[in-house]
Symmetry: C2
Subunit: 324 residues, 2 copies
């Protein structure tokens, strides 16, 4: 089995931005800009890791790994327009650096480029991987729409929220793992199990993200702590707090999320205080643990020698232990 | 051979909007809205017509025909955001009726849906059709970018303009025809010829569009005559006029295209007067005819019985004779 570092190196070698066209400059420069910012390259590594887990040839899956990385960055590029986010990974977002039209069109072209790479896979693979890739792309869009919808409506159930983050953030890592498995010729059952593993890990990851936004160390985490509270984001923490709140706490929560303007520090402090009273932190931790446990059960059930699973297990533990 | 009406009927029967998902409502309603507006369904008909020309089974190519129709409408949807066009086919555009974020995301989802349909084609077809479809999608984006670029720069050569409209409007009909040919198992040479035919027809069509914008009958043509002049669009007519103009005429053209504000009727009248003096109308007609002739040569060279080409020839003649 290849280590995480080895997989990373193989991907970095294969992901050659020089292959991306240059003209028109104002179409392809933003694409190169967006793709060269790095990030963790998590999703392509999941493709390769899973392919390796099922004893496949990772070179076989490489174009698909490149495709998911381009696709993911395309979604970020368009999300940044919709969310009006001026900064990503410490630098200007594309719509900010160029303009909205260019950001829309570069994003569209990246989506096409993702298909370009995935189509370079072995012909026999295409009927297997394309429906999964396309369905996942649609689901990610659906998740983003639900996320925008939930900003505007008052009542979001916890189940609705979980379904939203499943679509918006968990199906893509799950699909990456399944794609890798398909390239390795894994059984239908194993492919579904690794998909389920990825989905559970993805849900745990997003919930941890919500938690770190409030309880994370600002210095380590990098983002401004409490940003979700400031922007009235109806995260799991908020929705769970509403559920557990007594009438007075509920009134306060709704008051601070009413859209009126408050002192930022005061708002964060007050909402966090209610979360603390209701032990939302612990409740979130318990749910995150539950998803990790489910993921581990999925992994256990996969029909490959236990030793081969070590790197996947390590990867999950790494995510579980993260505090940034 | 099937007539144009028969092809149209077969497509209309197959293109079932009920198959498009419903949730999230604010994602899929705009898609259904965009696709139900009709339009001429020209591009899917080209797929089917070409498949039929080469004696293929048009049902085989039907999902691909649906895919190109969805793709085309996706590009219109995103173009309308970029061009800030509030009206299309007489009704509000998606970004106007909903908002920009929803228009971006619905468009992205339509692009995925297009791939969804194309992927439903016979598995053996996928390695043939996907690279062509994806390359065409990229080229259409490139054309749109060039179109936006040319709004901002002063000097655009006629060759640059032709290349822009080739990418923005001619490669898609060309690809549609080639896709149909591929489904019918046409020879490589014939597939290239029908592509070339489509590209020549597409160029002629767009140049005719430029011409009708100024010389078209406003009642028949539907659009406000002279719109390209009002918006300082550097069309072939304008660029050719600049090329042929004497110093005084050139000064006037640049003056009216300088971005200063003018009375609309005066501006259209003055620029049109220069076009008339320079016989730009006739020059454009000659070029359009040249492209039609090239298209007819492509068609003549295709290795199918001449009688089978009748409907394709009729179609080209119909476009050639159009005055709307």
């Amino acid at each position: 089995m290849l280590t995480f570092d080895q997989l990373q190196q193989r991907f970095t070698e294969a992901f050659n931005l020089d292959e991306i066209p240059t003209n028109p400059v104002r179409l392809y420069d933003p694409i190169r800009y967006s793709l060269s910012q790095g990030g963790k390259r998590m999703r392509p590594l999941l493709v390769l890791m899973s392919c390796d887990l099922f004893s496949g040839d990772i070179d076989d899956a490489m174009n698909c790994a490149i495709a998911v990385e381009i696709f993911h960055n395309f979604t970020l590029l368009h999300d940044d327009i919709m969310d009006q986010s001026p900064i990503r990974r410490g630098i200007d977002t594309v719509y900010k650096k160029w303009n909205t039209s260019i950001a829309i069109l570069s994003g569209d072209t990246m989506f096409a480029l993702a298909y370009d790479y995935i189509t370079r896979s072995r012909p026999a693979m295409l009927p297997l991987i394309l429906p999964l890739f396309t369905q996942t792309a649609r689901e990610v869009c659906e998740g983003q729409q639900l996320d925008m919808d939930y900003e505007e409506i008052d009542t979001v159930s916890i189940a609705d929220y979980i379904e939203m983050i499943r679509l918006k953030t968990a199906v893509l890592p799950a699909a990456c793992l399944k794609l890798g498995a398909l390239f390795a010729g894994a059984s239908h059952k194993d492919a579904e199990l690794i998909y389920s593993f990825g989905q559970h890990i993805g849900l745990a990851f997003q919930l941890k993200d919500d938690l770190l936004d409030i309880y994370g160390d600002q210095v380590i985490f990098g983002k401004r702590t409490g940003n979700d509270i400031l922007t009235n984001k109806k995260t799991w923490l908020y929705l769970k707090a509403l559920e557990k709140a007594d009438p007075d706490q509920k009134k306060q929560l709704l008051h601070y999320y009413s859209g009126k303007s408050f002192d930022a520090m005061e708002k964060i402090a007050k909402v966090t205080a209610i979360y603390n009273q209701l032990q939302i932190n612990e409740a979130a931790d318990a749910l995150i643990l539950e998803y990790y446990d489910k993921a581990m059960h999925d992994l256990d059930a996969i029909n490959v020698p236990d030793a081969s699973k070590e790197i996947v297990r390590d990867f999950a533990l790494l995510l579980k232990a993260r505090n940034l």
